[in-house]
């Protein structure tokens, strides 16, 4: 990462402060990991917190930044579900635009993997991943949700289990099966 990343954060930040709403969209993946880390250190001093709340706090902030009023989310679960969906949307849109326009300096997955600490395997084609996830959703929505929560907001399996209110063992089986299927599915095409 280093200076290139910092440079682009500053650049997008300045643009955003100058009133370019689209800049926030660019900022998002770049600041995500740091927000999460800082939120964790802040919440450490709040008694009785859980990791889920850390993630929720960050996402609440992101939603605010994006101008989507968080009041419509009734619970942490709801908020994180929506966030995972939104991150997926943003990242896939980004990948689509990048492949269409081929402009220089586009956001690359490599940046993302480094900065956002998400668990999407290296070299994944996000557009294909999106398609595969959509197929998976049609067959088994929970398995798709497990992948979405792990990939796009970086939750661990036990956290996913808490969120979906299933046994950890169940979430783990969902995860290993879906993960292997995605691996094959993306390698096939």
């Amino acid at each position: 990462m280093g200076s290139a990343t910092e440079g682009s954060v500053t650049k997008w930040l300045e643009r955003w402060r100058d009133g370019d709403p689209a800049a926030l969209d660019r900022l998002l993946p770049l600041v995500y990991a740091d927000l999460r880390r800082i939120a964790a250190s802040v919440l450490r001093s709040t008694p009785g917190h859980a990791t889920l709340q850390t993630t929720a706090l960050v996402h609440e902030m992101l939603l605010r930044l994006l101008g989507r009023a968080p009041a419509e989310y009734a619970s942490t679960t709801h908020l994180l579900n929506a966030s995972a969906r939104m991150m997926r949307q943003i990242l896939v849109d980004r990948a689509r635009n990048a492949s269409r326009t081929k402009r220089g300096g586009e956001w690359r997955r490599a940046d993302f993997a480094e900065v956002a600490e998400l668990q999407i395997p290296d070299g994944t084609d996000l557009i294909m991943l999106d398609q595969a996830l959509t197929e998976l959703e049609a067959m088994d929505a929970r398995m798709a949700k497990v992948v979405e929560l792990r990939y796009f907001i970086g939750l661990e399996v036990p956290e996913v289990a808490t969120m979906l209110d299933v046994a950890e063992r169940t979430a783990q089986r969902d995860w290993i099966a879906a993960h292997e299927w995605l691996r094959q599915r993306l390698a096939d095409t």
Binding site: L35, A39, V42, L136, I176, E180
Partner: protein, 910 residues
């Protein structure tokens, strides 16, 4: 195609819910004769099983079988893609044990295989006494290639050194053998790339053996490996985060420099028993950030660090046959610099070769000058700024969102209770964010400053008098305080609240905190009259509050307590601080910086009212609960704990804390603490009784103070330099330094307080010693006049004045009575509240008055009485100050050999 694969997935997923022994049957039933489907389901399940490696009861078919000439005895290890067995060759008259390495079943992909064969080839070309020898190789019945290495029955080098209790120098010597082996490999154009203690074993014969060239790479130009480039994009090779060089995380080309780095981490661990930085090896991204950004702790600091799963400091010191002091003197300086250079984040700043690294270590062993030069403060500071720019930017972002986003949203007044709650969480978030990145970098400060300013402007669009506006004001005032922007903060508070605020605001905890912060800002600019007017209103309000369980109240009470103490009102201040700490204990964990801060401030107040024991327990407990995540707070707590130790005469253990504080401040410069630290450390160095060290610390104190503000050097440093000059018998020089201390305290026409009077008295004695009787008397008269005209409490200055008078007057008959009076005055002073710094001086002066007494008796020719006086004083002085204190040593000298060997008032150096 994909529908089909979804069917496969469905069956696989369902099969996972079935007990393993019933799975085969289940799958057959579900596939209903579709052989292709069944085959794919089974294949996928096998992949899963491999992936989580959980096949309890699976039989390892290799064990008991043969590979080449070896019988496979047992599995002894498993790595990322490899697995290692112990093999035995039984010959007619000998048995040879080898380590047989294979690719793990299920991992025999092409690239893994290529890498494996490469390792075998690399090993084949290496032949060195410190490298495990390649013995044989072949292909297993299932097609997997294998090779056999000399079996090293040894311990990891770190464990071996601990078990043998090698001292630091012996460890360095042994480490040079490791360097020799790595240097040899480099000479063969092989970089190891995975050096770690587990790969550096020491056998029963005490010989070092280097293992595992599994991810080694051949250096450019060696020719025969073009077929299998290892660093192909996307294939992250195995990596041990604890020992990997920064550049290894980024997959940039790694060379000799990476091995230098890993070797340095091993050496660091050999020396300190811990890693250069605390690291979460399970989170690769976090580990990468740590390795790339966190500077290594100095070895002095590292030995004091306690970590789960590692022996405590005492055990580690014992394993090195060392004491804290001996360890410190061994590792600091050149050895620390060598490590620093080898651990540089940028490869080009490291030693260019392992040989150069080893050469410098040899020079160190021989006591010769080393080549490594220290990392300059400027470089460190630069690094720090660069590292933190991102988080500062983030702070700006977060604050902007707070002020624009939340304020705007909440102002819509369509807010659920939950919303208001989360706004508070967000605010704490932002406050903490800014606290963590409270950079003093000009560039960033401006942008944060601007933001604070625009925050104030935005505040005015909120409904006047609304709780929200007050809440936002509170955030902004705290931020101004934290960012040392007192003037702007006061301007904002004045604009919002007026110079004479509505004191009813103090009825809520938030309002109370706003007004307290306002007062705190005034206090910061030395506007104490206004501060006191605020206190008169706020202290009663705080005491009457019904919201004492809130953090806002605890914050206010802390600072109201401290400010009351500063205003001389200890009876009010102390109970507030006690309650603040009690509230924080309920609300915050022990490592929280806010709680730590309040505890240490309470300890300060307790010390002042002579409850030193309790204060000491409190600072020690605070220190023990401290967290490396908040280095500045830690430095502050350490400094305070060090002073409390010194108060009990434990100057050695205080010194350890001061040294560690210095290391922290070097890495996290904090102007607010730096000057204070410099003066207090110098004072402790004096009390330690080591002349050279005291000189060094006092001079470094001057350097630091001058770097902060050359116009404003602490009077304490001048005073200490005077004290040290006296110890060495340089009376005239001492008088000069004491005079500067007086001057520093009377500048600007300030009424001379205790600081000026105290230094003035000592100056008189120094002049007397230098033989200028008249000047000495004039000085004393001046001190006497100041003292009698004083409006503030003068601590134990009267005792010193009495003692000095006796010294100067040389009225032999009055000596005993005069010093008895001085002792009584000192004892009286000791019952009154005063800061820890004056209490430290009281301790020192208790012995000094005895010393003066004995010296005066000597000067009057009463040798026997002088000896008696010294002998009687010694036990008490030793108990208070220890054996090595200059004053104790001087008393000892008179007790042993009572003679006046010059006009010097004291002769500390032996």
């Amino acid at each position: 195609m994909s529908e089909y694969s979804l069917t496969v997935l469905r069956v696989v997923r369902d099969a996972l819910d079935v007990e393993p022994h019933e799975r085969a049957q289940f799958i057959t039933a579900r596939c209903g004769g579709d052989a292709a489907l069944q085959a794919r389901v089974e294949a996928m399940l096998r992949n899963l099983a491999d992936a989580d490696d959980a096949q309890p009861g699976a039989v390892d078919t290799l064990i008991g079988g043969r590979l080449g000439p070896f019988r496979v005895a047992e599995r002894i290890g498993k790595g990322g893609t490899g697995v290692v067995y112990r093999g035995v060759r039984e010959g007619a008259d000998f048995a040879q044990t080898v380590a047989i390495k294979l690719i793990r079943r299920g991992f025999d992909f092409d690239d893994v295989q290529a890498r494996f064969l490469r390792e075998r080839r690399i090993l084949a070309r290496l032949n060195h006494p410190n490298l495990a020898r390649l013995i044989d190789g072949g292909v297993a019945p299932d097609g997997r290639p294998w090779f056999a290495l000399e079996f090293v029955d040894g311990d990891a080098i770190t464990r071996w050194c601990d078990a043998q209790r090698l001292d630091v120098r012996q460890r360095v010597r042994l480490f040079l053998d490791v360097c020799a082996a790595v240097q040899y490999a480099h000479g063969q154009l092989v970089v190891h790339r995975d050096l770690k203690p587990g790969n550096v074993l020491v056998g029963g014969d005490g010989v070092v053996r280097l293992l595992d060239f599994g991810i080694a790479r051949l250096l450019e130009g060696s020719g025969d490996d073009a077929a299998a480039p290892l660093t192909v994009a996307g294939s992250v090779y195995a990596l041990t985060p604890e020992y990997a060089a920064p550049e290894q995380f980024t997959q940039a080309a790694t060379g000799v420099a990476a091995d230098v780095y890993s070797l340095a981490v091993i050496l660091y661990e050999l020396i300190t028993g811990t890693l250069p930085y605390a690291l979460d090896s399970h989170d690769l991204a976090a580990a990468q950030r740590t390795v790339c950004q966190t500077p290594a702790e100095s070895p002095t600091q590292a030995i004091a660090r306690s970590e789960d799963g590692r022996p405590d400091t005492a055990t580690r010191l014992a394993a090195r046959r060392s004491s804290a002091a001996a360890y410190r003197s061994t590792v600091r300086g050149d050895l620390a610099r060598i490590l620093d250079k080898a651990l540089a984040k940028e490869p080009e700043r490291r030693y260019a070769s392992v040989q150069a690294f080893a050469d410098d270590l040899s020079r160190w062993l021989a006591g010769a000058p080393v080549r490594a030069t220290g990392t300059s403060m400027g470089y460190r500071l630069g690094k720090f700024v660069r590292r933190h720019r991102l988080s500062t930017t983030l702070a700006v972002l977060a604050l902007a969102s707070l002020v624009t986003g939340i304020a705007a949203v909440l102002w819509q007044a369509r807010i659920a209770q939950q919303e208001a709650q989360s706004a508070i969480v967000m605010k704490d978030f932002v406050v903490e964010l800014l606290r963590q990145s409270d950079m003093r970098d000009e560039e960033d400060r401006i942008s944060v400053g601007e933001l604070l300013h625009s925050g104030g402007a935005r505040l005015r669009v909120l409904p006047p008098g609304s709780p929200l506006r007050l809440e936002m004001l509170r955030v902004l005032l705290h931020l101004h305080l934290d960012l040392n922007a007192q003037e702007d903060g006061i301007a904002l508070a004045q604009a919002e609240l007026g110079s004479e605020p509505n004191w009813d605001l103090a009825r809520t905890a938030n309002g109370l905190d706003v007004l307290t912060t306002y007062a705190h800002l005034l206090d910061g600019l030395g506007r104490s009259a206004e501060r006191d007017r605020f206190l008169a209103h706020l202290v009663p309000a705080a005491n009457a509050s019904t919201d004492k369980d809130s953090l806002a109240w605890a914050d206010s009470a802390t600072y109201l307590g401290v400010m009351s103490d500063d205003a001389g009102n200890l009876a009010t201040g102390l109970p507030l601080l006690e309650q603040a700490v009690a509230a924080m204990r309920k609300l915050l964990p022990a490592n929280d910086p806010r709680r730590q801060n309040s505890q240490v401030l309470l300890a300060g107040a307790l010390t002042s009212v002579r409850q030193g024991e309790r204060a000491r327990e409190l600072t020690e407990a605070t220190l023990a609960a401290g967290d490396d995540a908040f280095p500045r707070e830690r430095a502050y707590v350490q400094n305070m704990a060090a002073l409390r130790r010194a108060l009990f005469g434990e100057f050695e253990s205080a010194e350890t804390l001061f040294a560690s504080t210095r290391d922290l401040l070097d890495r996290y410069p904090d102007r607010r603490l730096l000057g204070y630290y410099a003066a207090t450390h110098a004072s402790n160095a004096f009390d330690l009784g080591d002349l050279a060290h005291a000189h060094a610390m006092i001079e470094r104190g001057f350097d630091r103070a001058a770097a902060l503000d050359p116009q404003n050097i602490s009077d304490t440093l001048y005073l200490l330099r005077g004290e040290l000059a006296m110890v060495e018998g340089h009376c005239a020089a001492a008088a000069g330094d004491y005079a500067r201390a007086v001057q520093a305290n009377t500048e600007g026409g300030a009424a001379p307080g205790i600081d000026a009077v105290y230094a003035q008295i000592l100056r008189g004695v120094a002049l007397h010693c230098a033989g200028d009787a008249q000047a000495a008397r004039d000085d004393w008269q001046q001190a006497n006049a100041w003292l009698s005209g004083a409006s503030e409490p003068m601590g134990h200055a009267p005792a010193m004045l009495t003692g000095a008078q006796a010294m100067l007057s040389a009225d032999a008959d009055a000596l005993d009575a005069a010093f008895a009076q001085a002792d009584a005055q000192l004892a009286q002073a000791r019952s009154r509240p005063i800061s820890v710094h004056w209490q430290l001086r009281e301790n020192r002066d208790e012995a000094r008055l005895k010393l003066w007494h004995a010296q005066a008796l000597l000067a009057a020719g009463r040798t026997d009485q002088a000896r008696d006086c010294a002998l009687k004083a010694l036990p008490g002085a030793r108990a208070r100050l220890g054996e090595r204190h200059f004053f104790v040593v001087a008393l000892q000298g008179i007790a042993e050999e009572p003679q006046l060997d010059s006009a010097q008032p004291l002769q500390g150096e032996r």
